[in-house]
Symmetry: C2
Subunit: 274 residues, 2 copies
Amino acid sequence: MSLETTRTEFIEAGGIRFAFRRLGVATGTPVVLLQHFTGNMDSWDPAVVNGLSETRPVIVFNNAGVGTTTGVTPDSVEQMSADAETFIKALGLPEIDLLGFSLGGMLAQVLATRNRGRIRKIVVVGAAPLGGEEHLLSVVENAFSRGAADIRLPLFFTPTEASQRAGREFIARALMRSKDRDPESGESVSGPQAKAIIEWCARKDESADMLRMIDQPTLIVHGSDDTMFPSINAYAMFKAMKDAQLILYPDSGHGALFQYPQLFVAHCRTFLDG
Amino acid sequence: MSLETTRTEFIEAGGIRFAFRRLGVATGTPVVLLQHFTGNMDSWDPAVVNGLSETRPVIVFNNAGVGTTTGVTPDSVEQMSADAETFIKALGLPEIDLLGFSLGGMLAQVLATRNRGRIRKIVVVGAAPLGGEEHLLSVVENAFSRGAADIRLPLFFTPTEASQRAGREFIARALMRSKDRDPESGESVSGPQAKAIIEWCARKDESADMLRMIDQPTLIVHGSDDTMFPSINAYAMFKAMKDAQLILYPDSGHGALFQYPQLFVAHCRTFLDG
């Protein structure tokens, strides 16, 4: 079973019908993946998801209002986190790990502070802390202006040949699923999600307090040259948190985990199994 | 065969009789370990060295003037690097990896820039770049003033219970070798080595140029609360280098690699095998 072939399931909770897919071995703490700005289940890299699923159960889902999940996309990280919590509780799992990328990494932080007993460890990739540095709108605008074959090539990868090649390979992998793909997100997703990210990063005064509230062991992963959320965010999170490991990758942008999928999976395994 | 039981060998080169020990599996690129300020072969953590040796050949040695190696301890990182190079060339290995800790991490940087063809990858732990931030003398003085059972408890570990416990376990491991131990270093080692470190860190203007000269893939590992060489050194090295990964560990001091030996060995394997 792989991300490309696993069938989509649905679960109803809090008035929302959540679309999700689960794969992986039956034993071990399941890891729930929290997706990036405008992303859906098919935006994940099969190399990452399938790699993780070799040694643990993996669950991907669409949050409220995204893809084939009903409801409205909220315009705050807190409400998105509450929706994700509703979905996770509905699954009835005794304990989980979280892996959040970008916006999903912000949700992972909120979920970790709110639900300590059931969240064991978190992996936060390409994210910013509350009050962190973001350049979302200018970076997205600049990326669109380049007329790339896929917006993720300029958004997620550096201009070097090696990074762009890795980007094309990632996009080829992410397009492998042919049946039952999620629809692309429109403005009903991008508008409120952009507002949520920008407001999250504007709350400078609350940053350190929130990071100190996270008790769970945390792995922070970031690209060296992330233009949307510069890597100093990751270093600052690491310094402020009680129990965080930091891993930064060379010559990589926002999509560092998709540029080095084998390396990222190896680092996740070492962290989650440790 | 283990670090605690491997016999000491000697090799003569450049007028110096170098003491060294080798262990590990026969195949794979050998990794040569470069030791910290005043350290000798018995200052390495058997858990780290033996762990690495499960999947590659490992070589530890005493540089000129240290322990059972003849010659005079030089007072510059460059001359120590030249001596290490003399030793490595005498071994006649076609290609090696380097793992340098603290002062040894400075030597690894110099060796990487000087001898590109034969050095494949480098691991730099608890080190500073040329022109980096150091607090060697004040930290050593402060550590001695605390009257600890072993100076490495305050020097290498944080004051938390978890870090100090890990420190005691490390020291117990490092004391396991009973036969043929290296003699402790005296002022003929500590004096010139301290001068070399301080002068290395005073060369602020040359830092970025040198880091950009390192072509080899590099893994930088550092403790969150290293008092001797603060972790910002590691972040700055990562940012300036062409092909570096950065890994920082939580609640850890200068001896982060000895606090988390299994984790460190796993990260080294992922990097060296990748």
